[in-house]
């Protein structure tokens, strides 16, 4: 049995909001196996985003430990954490977060440039391949502002996958899209999950979106209140 892609043990996160302490997460334990297509569900304020931030290495827990691909995130320097995000994690944001001044192609290419491991020819092939698979091969020269919301999110998916990370995190990826478009985005993510075995963890409060997951982790008031596996959830 390979080690899990994500493991959280007794994780707590406390924010200071003025004089009051906000307990965003309390005593969270979570194991995500490779190849899962996991949905984190819960009402807003339940700690979904906080949990994703901790898994994504953009934030560190107040107590407890989070391992991502075998690395204890709290033991990493800022530089190493950034490197971890670059090489091991892809991100999909609720608001797409494309770089406005770059073209579709350049947005997707961006992580590869940061990695700096490929020649421009290799990068071009990889980017085009991904744009092909998200159905935007014809839009590579467009600017994000020239695209619809669904197209933008597909660019974001391509960007998240372009460096072939073992883990992709998506925080409410469909929240800013109509349900049909949202559905196609989830289908696209699922397709990539099945094709490449990339682990996806996405948060949502939309039951229709949750239905696509291989497993659902439910959060309430910063606690994990349940984990249920759905059919066809084997890696």
């Amino acid at each position: 049995m390979p080690e899990p892609i994500v493991e959280a043990r007794d994780v707590a996160k406390v924010y200071q909001l003025g004089k009051t302490e906000v307990h965003a997460l309390r005593h969270v334990d979570l194991v995500v196996e490779r190849g899962e297509f996991l949905s984190i569900a819960g009402p807003s304020g339940s700690g979904k985003t906080t949990l994703l931030n901790l898994i994504g290495g953009v934030d560190v827990p107040t107590s407890g430990t989070v391992w991502v691909d075998g690395e204890d995130t709290s033991k990493l320097t800022e530089r190493a954490l950034t490197r971890l995000r670059l090489d091991h994690i892809g991100f999909i944001f609720q608001t797409f977060n494309l770089v406005a001044v770059l073209t579709v192609f350049q947005n997707v290419e961006f992580p590869l440039l940061l990695q700096g491991r490929m020649t421009s020819e290799e990068r071009r092939r990889r980017v085009n391949e991904l744009l092909e698979s998200v159905g935007l091969a014809d839009h590579s020269r467009h600017r994000p502002s020239e695209l619809s919301g669904g197209q933008r999110q597909r660019v974001a998916v391509a960007r998240a996958l372009v460096a072939r990370p073992p883990l992709v995190l998506a925080d409410e990826p469909t929240a800013n899209l109509d349900s049909k478009t949202g559905g196609t985005i989830i289908d696209l993510m699922r397709e990539m999950n099945l094709r490449d075995g990339t682990t996806f963890i996405f948060s949502t409060h939309d039951p229709k979106v949750m239905a696509h997951a291989s497993a659902i982790v439910r959060l309430e008031d910063g606690r994990v209140v349940g984990r249920e596996a759905l059919q066809g959830a084997e890696a």
Binding site: T49, L52, N53, G56, V58, D59, E78, R79, T82, R83, R85, L86, D87, F91, F93, Q94, T95, N97, V99, A100, V101, L102, Q106, F110, P111, L113, L114, Q115, G116, R117, S120, R159, D171, E172, A175
Partner: protein, 716 residues
């Protein structure tokens, strides 16, 4: 390794591309920031080009007129040397006793081309008055009549007599006005009563009827009693540099003889400063006309609106006596004829005609100015001194006496670039022998000699000195003159017994001094000319050391230091420019900083996203810096281009015209043509670069602090 390096290059490419696109995306901000940068660079390029050429011009003017490259003066001097005078008058310098010794020591220093002796001072100068001129003419007539016999018809003689009588009449009219105001019982009135009586006598027909009976006695009466009442002429100040004229001319090409000739090698003489002559020696009415003309043409002032111009016109119409006194009856008739014609007037009174001519307004000024110079001026002597005249200079000597020296005027000198400088353009150039006579410095040997003479002669020593005063002073009056340090003094005084003073003076003026005589003697400072002006700093200590070896303690000064206030104005201008540049770029810094902080805040989400995706902090930092520096360099480049273009445009259009004397002085001429210097271009690049980096720092740090969490926040 090479993979890493090339990844940097790739990151660099996307950085620059993002920076550029960010700049284009927010055009307004980029244009505002860039505009300020460009403006700053234009100011730097244009300003420093202007200053550089002012600097070069002033350097040329000052070095080429009086400053040379290095100035040496006695180290024991109380004041520092100030070639153009200090704020507290002339600087007090201890003399360099034997210039020849210093000269040979300094010439032995490598790179030294020339060493010129100098002594700068100011003194009273007597220009003689118009009475003297008229009396001199009449005296010549009397002498001729005595030697050759009096012809029955002698129109010159009669005309000259009539001229003097007319002058006395005019003088009486002028003084009568003063007398009407005066209280007849006051002491002053009593003192002057005798003067008025003498004048009254000179006006009466009886005096002139009896003139031929005792012409010499009558002349003496006019000379001693009447001429002194004329306030005209009298004394003015003169500032001069005593030097070796031949060496001076070679060393200072900027000193140009504009009228007359240079002082012949080895001879005595003075070249009067042209500006000095304009200011002090020119007929006042003519000078005022010149000034009105300049005010109207250069500054666009109007007589009708300008109180000062109105005052000048009023002074011109009220003070026609200067002009009338110069005209003898023959010339008066000619002047009346010419003015009647030019002014289309039937007026026969010359005084009224001249007054009408000088009563100018904005409409007729140009015509009247032309009439004055074309028609009237040829009948007049415009300057109270002309080439060939002899002037008498009186100065308090080192020994305490007032020394008096007669010097022939060989010409007028102008200092190129400093023609209009009230400080520098006033300078006259005098031969070092006359200067030494005035300075009256006693060498120790000479002093000892005089002491011995005094002991031997006892009380008669005073009489002897009076005799020498007559020799050197000519019209020295009551002043006693000290014996001079000239080595030939004894020889010259031997001549006294056999010749009259006038003849004696001519002998003195004809005398040629050898180079050794010129060099062996006192000087106050020495201008050193170098082969290579860039070696000033290193040559200065060598000169001081060489002089010390020769037993002379001197201080060395650069030409700029020695030029005092004149040179300081350059430094002041530079400081003003630097201050302006500093302010512009301080403002630029604040604005760029603000703009970039705002840009960073607007892009927090984008920056957070990049950080989340895996961009290191340094990437973000460099992104901001690249944006600002790119703006700086692009617009700085545009500004530099514009500055260069402006410099050329100003040059093509003939430069910036000097509209007043200060500008004329600063520009070292009538116009300033800016010259582009590599230094100004490089410094503008450096400033822009520094300012960009500085103004990018804070926003860059802000951007660096953006956490990836910011990317996760939704837009609400």
């Amino acid at each position: 390794m090479s993979g890493r390096a090339s990844s940097r290059v790739r990151q660099g490419k996307i950085l620059v591309e993002m920076a550029m696109r960010n700049l284009v995306a927010s055009r307004v901000r980029t244009l505002v920031v860039g505009g300020i940068v460009a403006l700053g660079v234009v100011v730097v390029v244009l300003g420093s080009s202007l200053l550089d050429s002012i600097d070069a011009g002033m350097t040329r003017s000052i070095q080429g007129s009086l400053g040379g490259h290095i100035q040496l003066y006695n180290a024991k001097s109380r004041d520092p040397l100030a070639l153009y005078g200090g704020t507290m008058g002339e600087s007090v310098l201890e003399p360099i006793e034997d210039f020849a010794k210093l000269k040979s020591a300094a010439l032995a220093v490598p790179g030294v081309k020339q060493v010129v002796p100098m002594g700068i001072d100011q003194a009273m100068v007597s220009m003689g008055n118009v009475f003297d001129v008229a009396l001199e003419r009449l005296r010549a007539d009397v002498r001729r009549r005595q030697e050759q016999g009096a012809p029955a018809e002698d129109p010159d003689y009669e005309a000259h007599k009539a001229h003097l009588r007319r002058m006395a009449t005019l003088l009486q009219q002028e003084l009568r006005q003063a007398r009407e105001i005066a209280d007849e019982t006051s002491g002053v009135y009593k003192d002057r009563k005798a003067d008025f009586d003498a004048l009254e006598q000179a006006v009466q027909g009886g005096f002139w009827d009896r003139f031929d009976e005792d012409p010499l006695g009558s002349l003496e009466f006019l000379e001693n009693r009447v001429a002194p009442l004329s306030l005209d002429g009298g004394f003015t100040f003169i500032r001069y540099v005593g030097t070796d004229p031949e060496a001076f001319q070679k060393a200072f090409p900027g000193a140009q003889v504009v009228e007359g000739t240079a002082i012949p090698p080895g001879q005595r003489g003075v070249l009067l400063g042209k500006l000095y002559a304009e200011e002090w020696l020119k007929l006042r009415a003519a000078r005022r006309l010149d000034k009105i003309k300049e005010a109207r043409e250069l500054h666009g002032r109007k007589i009708s609106k300008d109180e000062e111009l109105q005052r000048w016109v009023k002074e011109n119409t009220g003070q026609t006596r200067d002009i009338l006194l110069q005209l003898d009856p023959v010339r008066t008739r000619e002047a009346v004829r010419r003015l009647q014609e030019a002014l289309r007037s039937r007026e026969t009174d010359p005084a009224r005609l001249v007054a009408v001519l000088l009563d100018t307004d904005d409409a007729n000024f140009d015509e009247r100015y032309r009439i004055f110079y074309d028609r009237l001026a040829p009948l007049l002597q415009l300057y109270s001194v002309k080439v060939g005249d002899t002037i008498t200079i009186k100065a308090p000597s080192r020994s305490g006496y007032v020394n008096s020296v007669n010097v022939p005027v060989h010409g007028f000198v102008e200092f190129r670039g400093l023609e209009r400088s009230a400080l520098a353009g006033m300078m006259s150039v005098m031969d070092v022998h006359s200067w030494r006579d005035l300075y009256g410095y006693l060498t120790p040997e000479r002093a000892a000699e005089i002491r011995k003479l005094k002991e031997r002669a006892g009380a008669t020593s005073i009489a002897r000195e009076d005799a020498e005063a007559a020799l050197f002073g000519g019209g020295g009056g009551g002043d006693a003159a000290a014996p001079t340090a000239a080595p030939q003094a004894i020889d010259e005084s031997k001549l006294l017994g056999t010749m009259g003073a006038r003849q004696m003076r001519d002998e003195l003026f004809q005398r040629r001094y050898g180079q050794a005589e010129t060099d062996q003697g006192v000087a106050l400072n020495a201008a050193v000319i170098l082969e290579d002006p860039r070696r000033i700093a290193e040559t200065m200590p060598r000169l001081v050391e060489a002089a010390r070896q020769a037993g002379i303690e001197v201080k060395a000064m650069t030409w700029l230091e020695a030029s005092g206030i004149v040179g300081q104005s350059m430094r002041l201008l530079r400081m003003v420019l630097y201050l302006a540049v500093l302010i512009i770029f301080a403002v630029a810094l604040v604005i760029i900083n603000n703009a970039m902080v705002m840009a960073t805040l607007q892009r927090v989400k984008e920056i957070g996203t990049m950080r989340a995706i895996g961009a290191q902090r340094r990437f973000v930092l460099v992104l901001v810096v690249v944006e600002v520096v790119t703006t700086g360099l692009v617009f700085g480049g545009l500004g530099a281009g514009l500055g260069i273009l402006l410099v050329h445009v100003v040059g093509w259009t003939g430069g910036i015209a000097a509209t007043n004397d200060t500008m004329y002085f600063l520009f070292s001429g009538p116009a300033l043509i800016p010259r582009l210097g590599t230094a100004s271009l490089l410094s503008s690049v450096a400033i822009v670069f520094a300012v960009s980096i500085l103004s990018a720092l804070y926003p860059a740090v802000l951007a660096m602090r953006v956490t990836p969490i910011e990317a996760m926040q939704s837009d609400e």
